[in-house]
């Protein structure tokens, strides 16, 4: 897998997070994962198909997901990951993946994305359809979003 596939996702986050009210968005650690993505508590899966096939697992702690959801809803307090907060997080990953797909398209790669599946629970892990995947941390106002990108 070409490491360059992460760039459209990084650019998408850099582009979208400020629109949602985040001030400081930076790239954190980059690594290669093998076999399993260990969930931090909330993991959102979005599938890619057409000229690029794979899965993205967006990984958050519950506290981070709630803080992001709160910011997205213009500061509304979020005490539990209720329906509204779930919908906000799911919409965030949809926006980021959709934005990345548009960037791929500009580079000549047609990409179609699936609706997000929000996976919530304790102690679970995931396989993202490729044995090796790229892991990049994005930090928005000290909140860490981990992207696990597995492309076939």
């Amino acid at each position: 897998m070409d490491v360059k596939v992460i760039n459209p996702f990084i650019d998408a986050i850099m582009n979208i997070m400020p629109q949602l009210g985040f001030q400081n968005v930076v790239k954190g650690k980059l690594s290669v994962g093998e076999q399993f993505v260990e969930s931090k508590g909330i993991t959102v899966l979005v599938g890619l198909t057409d000229q690029l096939r794979g899965n993205i697992a967006y990984n958050f702690t519950e506290a981070t997901a709630m803080s992001i959801a709160s910011k997205m809803m213009m500061g509304m307090p979020v005490a539990t990951l209720d329906d509204l907060a779930q919908s906000a997080i799911s919409e965030l990953t949809n926006m980021v993946t959709g934005n990345a797909a548009t960037r791929f398209e500009k580079d000549g790669l047609r990409v179609d994305i699936s609706p997000p599946s929000l996976v919530v629970g304790e102690n679970f892990k995931l396989k993202v359809s490729s044995a090796k995947f790229l892991v990049v941390e994005m930090i928005a106002d000290s909140l860490v979003i981990e992207l696990n990108i597995g492309i076939e």
């Binding site: 198909t49 899965n55 779930q86 799911s90 699936s114 076939e152």
Partner: protein, 283 residues
């Protein structure tokens, strides 16, 4: 599978013929043709069709007037207008009455089929969801039997909002003209026993289990979507699948906020397999 029954209300035998041809070899069947509004109303009461195509210029009344009468009889009626005229005023008036879609003559088969598909797949429309689900249930049971040699003892399904995993879940995204998700969910014990049946061996490693259940899900999804694509016919309405992801863990909630889904449980000699299918409607 029962065909979806369509009543055509149009005074032109030529137009009736074009609509019949457009629906040929599809899951729709024309159950009646009426040449006047009053005959259309009479046949609607008698035949109780699933869908109606309505011309706007009828010898005895205005087509939209006829739509309103039909919707007074049956507020849940699904009517589309197929006429030579299609302008903003017609669409606005028709929509206000409760017409679902507007097509201009000569209507193209693909356009009409996709329009019908979207109407029956409308959110909250149980009939539409049930209809897609049938393809998945057929592929699910057939492949359990074909690939393992086991019988399916019973099949139940229920409509639910969110899924809680039993141990091993395989998620495949659905995209293209329809958006959704299929998920196969089993306990780890059932996954192991099922994999033994699939591979015909007594010992299986975890890796075999993940790969086999994932591929099994991929096959069910592939078969179901191929059948649906055959119905939708045209390339631009094609539905595609994203590759499988696997979720490992118990009591994990899988949530798709915009989706209402159906869980189908198949009981076999080694335990139950759960398949969850949900759509969020067309693009």
């Amino acid at each position: 599978m029962n065909k979806i029954r369509v009543l055509i209300v149009d005074d032109s035998p030529f137009s009736q013929r074009l609509i019949k041809d457009a629906l040929k070899e599809s899951k729709y069947e024309v159950c009646g043709c009426a040449g006047t509004g009053s005959d259309g109303i009479r046949q609607y009461r008698e035949l109780q069709p699933d869908l109606v195509t309505m011309d706007l210029t009828l010898p005895d009344m205005d087509g939209l007037e006829c739509c309103r009468e039909l919707l007074t009889i049956d507020p849940a009626g699904k009517i589309v207008v197929v006429s030579a005229m299609k302008d903003e005023a017609i669409i606005n008036r028709g929509t206000a009455i409760g017409v679902k879609a507007f097509f201009q003559k000569p209507v193209k088969s693909e356009a009409l089929l996709l329009g019908f598909e979207q109407i029956i797949a409308e959110k909250g429309n149980e009939a539409g969801q049930q209809h897609f689900l049938e393809y998945f249930i057929a592929a699910f049971t057939k492949n359990i039997i074909d690939m393992t040699g086991m019988d399916v003892l019973s099949v139940d399904h229920s409509k639910i909002q969110s899924v809680v995993s039993h141990g091993l879940g395989v998620v495949i995204g659905i995209t293209g003209s329809q958006q959704g998700r299929i998920m196969l969910d089993v306990s780890m014990e059932v996954a192991q026993e099922f994999t033994k049946k699939l591979l015909g061996t007594d010992v299986v490693a975890d890796e075999d289990v993940y790969n086999s259940i994932s591929e099994f899900t991929n096959i069910i999804a592939g078969h179901s979507i191929s059948e649906i694509n055959n119905v939708l016919k045209a390339k631009e309405f094609e539905i595609r699948l994203t590759p499988p992801s696997i979720i490992i863990g118990e009591s994990i909630a899988i949530i798709n906020p915009k989706m209402t889904s159906n869980t189908v449980t198949a009981k076999t000699a080694i335990g139950s397999l759960h398949m969850n299918v949900g759509f969020v409607g067309g693009k």
